[in-house]
C-alpha cells in the first residue's frame, strides 16, 4: 500500500473544514487500507474495543517495524491509516520520537485517541510503542 506521509495527511485535512468532507477522507483512507485476511483475525492479534475490534501484526525487517492492521469498522480503519502513516516501516527510534498526541491534535482528531474512546486506537498506539521499545532493547 502507498501510505501517505503524516505531512500529506496534515495538509489534506487542513483544507477540509466540514465534518462530512473530513470523515469522507478518513473513510476513503480506511477503504484503501489493505487490512488482513479473515484467517489472520486471530485472538492473539486482537485488541478489543467496546465498539469495534482492531487487529495488529508486526514484524521486523532491516531494523524497521512493519505493521499490518485491520478493524471491522471502516472509520477505525481510516484512523488506523493515520497511525500507520506515523509508524509503519519506521525504526524504533523514529517511532518512539514521534509525538502521536500532537499529531492527532494537529489533525483536530484528538478525541479519537483518548483512552475513554472505546475504539481500541489508544491500545494499538501503546502496543506499537511497546514493540518499538522491545526491539530497541
Amino acid at each position: 500500500m502507498n501510505l501517505p506521509s503524516t505531512d500529506e495527511i496534515i495538509d489534506d485535512l487542513e483544507f477540509l473544514d466540514d465534518w462530512e468532507q473530513r470523515y469522507q477522507y478518513i473513510i476513503d483512507l480506511g477503504k484503501a487500507l489493505p487490512g488482513l485476511p479473515e484467517s489472520q483475525h486471530k485472538e492473539e492479534y486482537l485488541v478489543r474495543g467496546c465498539q469495534s475490534n482492531v487487529w495488529l501484526i508486526s514484524e521486523e525487517k532491516d531494523g524497521k517495524l512493519l505493521l499490518h492492521v485491520d478493524s471491522d469498522a471502516v472509520i477505525v480503519q481510516g484512523l488506523l491509516t493515520l497511525v500507520m502513516a506515523a509508524y509503519h516501516n519506521k525504526t524504533p527510534e523514529q517511532i518512539l520520537a514521534f509525538d502521536i498526541d500532537h499529531y492527532f491534535a494537529q489533525l483536530d482528531l484528538e478525541n479519537h485517541i483518548t483512552p475513554t474512546r472505546g475504539n481500541g486506537l489508544r491500545a494499538i498506539v501503546g502496543k506499537i510503542q511497546q514493540l518499538a521499545k522491545q526491539s530497541q532493547a
Partner: protein
C-alpha cells in the same frame, strides 16, 4: 386525549442543547432516560433545604429528611402496587437488586437444583445466576428464543421441572425490545414451586407495573431508566419471601443489636439496606414517578407504539437494513444492522449529525452470538421523542450510508 409531546419536551432542559453544532436527537433511552425539571428541582431542593442523615438524628432536618425519604418509598410502593411499603428495598440499581437476590439464592441452592434464565438476558441477569450456580453446584438452564426474537415459551415450559428452584427473566429485552409474557410464565413457574424474579430495567420505562398482578417474587429496576437519578434503584420482593431473606451487606442501619462478637438483624426493609442510603436519589426517583404519573398510561403507550411503528416502517423501506428482533410484542427499541456497514460506523456518523443511538453488544454478548451478529445499532424511544425525530434518524442513516458507500 393524546400526549402533548411539545409540552413534555419543554420540561427536559437537556433536549434543548446542541451536540456537534446540531440539535440533539436523543434516541438512547434504553441506556438511560433524560430528567425532567421536576426531578432536577427535587434533587436541588433536597440538598438546598433538607440534607441530613435519616433514621438517626434527633433534630429537625433529620426528621424532615426521613419523612421525605420514607414518603418516596411509599410513592414507589403505590406505583408498582406493592402490598406493603417494606417490600420496597432501595438499591443502587437493577444490577444490585439482582445481585442481592442471587446472593441469597446461591446460599440456598444445592446440587441438582436448576435456575432458568433466557437467551435474551442482559449480562446483569445472566452473570449473576451463572455465578450463583457455579458457587452452589446448581445448573443454569437457558430458555431459547425464536428467530423473531420472542421467547420460545414452549421450551420455557419444557425446561421447567420439579428441579427448577429459581426463574429470572427480563420483562422487556434491552437489545431487542421484546415484551415477554411474564404473567403467564410466572404462573407456570410458581406451579412448580419455583421462585420468580423479573428484571424490570426496561419494563419500568414503558408503563405502570403491577407486581401483584404479575405474581412474581422479585422485581428489580433502576431509577435512571424511568426519568430518575442514577445510583438509585428498587428491589421489590414479596414480604413473605423477603422477610427472612439472607442478609446482603452488613453494617449500620440494618442491625437490631450488636455486641463485639455477635449481631442480630433488623426488620424489613432496613435489614437489606446497610449504611447511609442514597436519600437524594430516592427522593428524586419519587419525583420522577410523580412526574410520570400525571400522564395517562394509555396515552404514553399509544405514543411509544406510534414511534416504533413509524421507525419500523421506515426501516423496512431501507434497502439493505435488517431489523434485529421483530417479535409481535415489542416496544421502545429498534435494533438493526446495515449491509456493508459496521454498527460502530453508523453510530459514529449519526453522532456527528446530533443523533445519539447505541451500538455494540448491548451488554448481551451471548445473545449477539446466538443471533450471529457482531452487534447492532439500536435506537430506543421514550415519551419525549417525536415522529420528526424518527424521520431525522432515517435521514441520518441515509447520509451515513452515502458516506460509507
Amino acid at each position: 386525549m393524546s400526549l402533548n409531546v411539545a409540552q413534555i419536551r419543554e420540561q427536559f432542559p437537556i433536549l434543548h442543547r446542541q451536540v456537534h453544532g446540531k440539535p440533539l436527537v436523543y434516541l438512547d433511552n434504553a441506556a438511560t432516560t433524560q430528567k425532567p425539571q421536576a426531578v432536577i428541582n427535587a434533587l436541588t431542593d433536597y440538598y438546598t433545604q433538607c440534607n441530613a442523615n435519616v433514621h438517626r438524628g434527633a433534630h429537625y432536618l433529620s426528621d424532615e429528611a426521613t419523612r421525605r425519604y420514607e414518603a418516596a418509598r411509599k410513592t414507589v410502593a403505590e406505583y408498582i402496587n406493592a402490598s406493603r411499603q417494606e417490600e420496597v428495598i432501595w438499591t443502587s440499581g437493577t444490577t444490585e437488586g439482582i445481585n442481592l437476590v442471587a446472593n441469597g439464592v446461591a446460599q440456598r441452592l444445592k446440587t441438582g437444583d436448576e435456575v432458568l434464565v433466557t437467551e435474551m438476558e442482559h449480562h446483569a441477569n445472566l452473570v449473576t445466576w451463572q455465578q450463583a450456580c457455579k458457587r452452589s453446584g446448581a445448573t443454569l438452564k437457558v430458555v431459547p428464543i425464536n428467530e423473531d426474537g420472542s421467547l420460545n415459551t414452549e421450551q420455557f415450559h419444557a425446561l421447567l421441572s420439579e428441579n427448577t428452584a429459581f426463574v429470572s427473566m427480563p420483562h422487556i429485552s434491552n437489545a431487542l425490545g421484546t415484551i415477554n409474557p411474564i404473567k403467564e410464565l410466572t404462573a407456570a413457574a410458581k406451579a412448580k414451586d419455583a421462585l420468580v424474579m423479573i428484571d424490570g430495567a426496561q419494563g419500568v420505562a414503558h408503563g405502570a407495573i403491577d407486581v401483584q398482578d404479575i405474581g412474581c417474587d422479585f422485581y428489580a429496576f433502576s431509577g435512571h431508566k424511568v426519568f430518575g437519578p442514577t445510583g438509585i434503584g428498587v428491589l421489590w420482593g414479596c414480604y413473605e419471601v423477603l422477610k427472612d431473606w439472607p442478609i446482603w451487606l452488613v453494617g449500620g442501619e440494618m442491625i437490631a443489636t450488636v455486641s463485639y462478637q455477635d449481631a442480630t438483624w433488623g426488620e424489613l426493609p432496613n435489614r437489606l439496606e446497610a449504611g447511609t442510603p442514597n436519600i437524594a436519589g430516592a427522593i428524586g426517583l419519587a419525583a420522577a414517578i410523580n412526574w410520570l404519573r400525571q400522564y395517562d398510561a394509555a396515552d404514553i403507550l399509544a405514543h411509544e407504539t406510534a414511534l416504533l411503528a413509524r421507525a419500523t416502517q421506515l426501516a423496512e423501506q431501507t434497502d439493505g437494513l435488517t431489523i434485529v428482533g421483530h417479535a409481535a410484542k415489542k416496544i421502545g427499541v429498534l435494533s438493526f444492522i446495515l449491509d456493508g456497514a459496521h454498527p460502530a460506523d453508523i453510530g459514529f456518523l449519526l453522532d456527528k449529525q446530533g443523533i445519539a443511538i447505541r451500538t455494540g453488544d448491548h451488554c448481551a454478548q451471548p445473545l449477539m452470538k446466538r443471533l450471529n451478529v457482531p452487534g447492532t445499532a439500536r435506537a430506543s424511544f421514550s415519551i419525549y421523542n417525536t415522529l420528526d425525530e424518527v424521520e431525522m434518524l432515517f435521514e441520518g442513516i441515509k447520509k451515513a450510508r452515502l458516506m460509507l458507500a
